[in-house]
């Protein structure tokens, strides 16, 4: 039993920190820290910086541009990046499509698409959910009918995050209506500029645009854009859903957010004393700090097991549930800390370079928006109810 990081790991951490110190633009980390909205250009900028350093695709095989890092190194990297308030890297191409291509794609597909993911040529988005297929993803209906060298795609996808910026979308489509619903699904890569595609933004309850509906009307997709075999898409989709979930708890992001919360609690006052000394708030804060410390160690235990060759399966579901609960609780305490200043909805304050008169303490401006927005964490990416089903079946054998 030894929970200390190795000397090599600590040296690696120092290297990551030095890099972040050197290369992470203060303009970007400042926006992230303040909870301001990132533009497409902001995200592309950070993507390019990481790619230049060779650390972008750190979980890919080395031959395709990976770093060969251990799971522990990847954990350290993710944590440090989050603690430094770096922008989140959009995962759709890099962490979702790429692993599928690497495992199931043709040589030609890998050679064509992987470099373009690295250099940012293609901004990818995900076409999984449909209005009638949420938790029950396999119930999807968007159809792809083979016509010569093309599939003709009709249907609708939804909850497509950042689809408004995307050049490409990877889609689960139905190529066969016979048999079980999990059979007859195929995995297609579709150019967003193809005629017949329409992207409609979905306005979320916090007023933000980050998800979209994507409509397909007779969209012609070259057969070369089929990944793997026709009707085997469910296998690839499941692989994608279980791949690289060691960082699903978002420990780094929660640590960074919690540090900010702690600062707020030390300075923001209620009833004549800092919130950190308010009995109820102090108890909420302490419980959260303890939960976070516990989750961090649970995460490390899963990583250590993964490093020893035990692929985490349902353990990821525990990390997903507790990780999102903690992230939501941090945002919950932030909004509580804002007091009456949670109500003002000064959206300009969420934009870079906002110079208007502040309304309340600066952390308050995005507090309620974040709280409401983070409701998504327990819904998307496999709802926490679905994760409980997985735990119940896979770990508890009920």
């Amino acid at each position: 039993m030894d929970l200390s990081f190795t000397q090599e790991d600590e040296a690696f951490r120092a290297e990551v920190r030095a890099f972040l110190q050197d290369k992470l633009p203060a303009r970007l980390s400042d926006k992230v820290r303040k909870g301001q909205r990132l533009t497409k250009a902001d995200m592309e900028e950070w993507h390019a910086i990481l790619n230049a350093r060779g650390w972008l695709a750190n979980h890919w095989p080395v031959e395709w541009g990976g770093t060969g890092w251990s799971v522990m190194q990847r954990f350290i990297f993710e944590t440090e990046v989050a603690l430094a308030h770096a922008p989140r890297i959009v995962p759709f191409g890099l962490s979702m499509l790429a692993p599928v291509l690497i495992k199931y794609g043709s040589e030609a597909q890998k050679k064509h698409w992987l470099p373009r993911i690295l250099d940012g040529t293609d901004w990818w988005c995900q076409g999984y959910s449909e209005p009638g297929a949420g938790s029950d993803l396999a119930a999807l209906k968007t159809s792809a009918v083979r016509e010569g060298d093309h599939y003709v795609v009709n249907g609708q996808k939804t909850w497509t995050t950042l689809g408004q910026y995307a050049d490409m979308i990877f889609c689960l489509v139905r190529t066969d209506n016979q048999g079980k619903k999990q059979e007859g699904i195929s995995f297609l890569l579709i150019d967003m500029k193809t005629p017949g595609i329409e992207v409609r933004p979905i306005k979320l309850l916090d007023g933000d645009y980050e998800v979209n509906e994507v409509f397909f009307t007779d969209v012609r997709v070259p057969v070369a854009n089929l990944v793997g075999e026709e009707n085997k898409g469910w296998t690839y989709a499941k692989y994608l859903l279980t791949y690289e979930r060691t960082n699903i708890a978002g420990v780094g992001a929660s640590m960074a957010a919690f540090e900010r919360l702690k600062q707020v609690a030390a300075t923001q006052r209620r009833n004549g004393r800092p919130l950190a000394q308010d009995p109820q708030f102090a108890a909420r804060l302490a419980r959260l700090e303890i939960d976070l410390e516990n989750m961090k160690t649970t995460n490390l235990r899963v990583l250590a097991a993964a490093g020893a060759g035990h692929a985490p399966t349902a353990e990821s579901s525990m990390l997903k549930i507790r990780g999102t609960e903690i992230r939501q609780q941090i945002s919950d305490l932030m909004r509580r800390a804002a007091g009456v200043h949670a109500q003002p909805f000064v959206t300009e304050a969420l934009e870079e370079g906002f110079n208007g008169p502040a309304v309340g303490p600066d952390f308050a401006a995005p507090a309620a928006s974040h709280y409401f927005n983070y409701r998504k964490l327990s819904i998307f990416g496999g709802s926490n109810e679905v994760q409980r089903e997985i735990i119940s079946k896979a770990i508890l054998e009920l």
């Binding site: 949670a342 309620a368 409401f372 927005n373 409701r375």
Partner: protein, 361 residues
């Protein structure tokens, strides 16, 4: 013991409910909250004509009601329709005006001719005598519909202690930084820099008046909150009965059924707490204050649960602007932030209990 509203009050509820359903439907609300002022003056004028504003005040103050249950049922209808408007500011300011004998102004407000607001944090401003009047300095945060108000009742500390003042729209020394609210409507930071003000009542004597006005505001918010919870429950049950996943209505999943049962039970507890607050309002100070703090704690606790569960059970669709549900959830959570949150009222309930013990011994 009688839990029915009584005939007059039931008529008020029916009238108000019908009016809002007809004149403040969802489309209207969507339009209104995007306007600069964030509320509808014509709707307000009609509400005044219907006697809704007068229902918040007793006859001695020019109103037609004024009991805590009257206040409760009006705000329940406000909650049901998710209506926006200067309801709370009018109630708070009006109670203070009534308590200090300013019935003439209150009557204008009841008639809808004058729009009131209130900024009752006496630690947020100082008042000094200035000739025949007073000058106020300080910043009162998140004053409801501040920019729309013709008169604002402002609490401020003077040499004599907490005092109440009246300020007038556009008077020198007043600046308002106004903004929309995340749950609809608008408010503003009221920045006072030697603003000319009229003293209400006696200097230094405002504490009890403020406490009583805030207690009325708490009753109002609690009843509004319970109505919103009811609405969230109905909307969620409807969704659970119709939304299908894995071939069946998701309301057939036992895990969700048990959570909904718990939520329904908690909402009944919240309703009871709001009834208790209204019932104890006319009792002695300690009983009233314990009950309103207990209720605000309860609706804060159950409110977050109801908002979070309603969204979670809807899944992604529950997070969209398009679905009224998300706005009900936002309003409910934000009620938690008005006039003291769950934690603050729990602490206050504990402190009041210790006061009671100290008095008893």
């Amino acid at each position: 013991m009688d839990f029915s509203l009584g005939e007059d009050r039931q008529m008020l509820v029916d009238t108000l409910g019908r009016f809002l359903a007809g004149n403040f439907d969802w489309k209207t609300r969507e339009t209104v909250i995007e306007t600069a002022e964030g509320w509808s003056r014509p709707v307000w004028a009609q509400l005044a004509k219907l006697g809704v504003i007068g229902a918040l005040f007793d006859e001695a103050s020019g109103g037609f009601g004024g009991s805590a249950f009257d206040i409760g049922v009006v705000f329940a209808e406000v909650g049901k329709a998710l209506a926006v408007g200067p309801f709370l500011g009018t109630l708070l300011a009006g109670r203070a005006l009534a308590a200090t004998g300013e019935t003439a102004l209150l009557e204008q407000a009841i008639a809808g001719e004058v729009i009131l607001s209130a900024a009752l944090d006496s630690d947020a401003a100082q008042g000094v005598a200035d000739g025949e009047g007073w000058a106020l300095t300080g910043t009162q945060p998140v004053v409801p519909f501040a920019a729309s108000a013709d008169r604002i009742v402002v609490a401020a500390r003077t040499g004599e202690g907490p005092s109440l003042f009246l300020i007038e729209k556009g008077a020198p020394g007043i600046e308002i930084r106004d903004y929309p609210l995340i749950d609809g409507g608008a408010a503003g930071e009221l920045m006072l820099d030697g603003a000319a003000a009229t003293l209400l009542g006696q200097a230094g004597e405002a504490s009890a008046i403020i406490e009583e006005a805030v207690a009325a505001g708490l009753v109002a918010l609690c009843w509004e909150a319970v109505a919103i919870m009811d609405s969230l429950k109905v909307q969620t049950l409807e969704y659970l009965r119709t939304r299908k996943q894995f071939g069946i209505a998701i309301g057939k999943f036992q895990a969700l059924q048990h959570r909904m049962a718990t939520l329904a039970l908690e909402i009944e507890q919240a309703r009871s707490s709001a009834i208790n607050a209204a019932d104890r309002f006319a009792k002695g100070r300690l009983e009233r204050e314990k009950a309103v703090s207990a209720a605000k704690f309860t609706i804060g606790r159950v409110g977050s649960l109801a908002a979070e569960e309603a969204i979670q059970m809807h899944g992604g669709i529950g997070m969209t602007w398009e679905l009224p549900l998300s706005h009900y959830a936002k309003r409910l959570v934000m009620i938690g932030h008005q006039l003291g949150d769950e934690d603050m009222h729990l602490e206050r309930f504990i402190a009041l209990g210790q006061d009671a013990l100290a008095t008893a011994s």
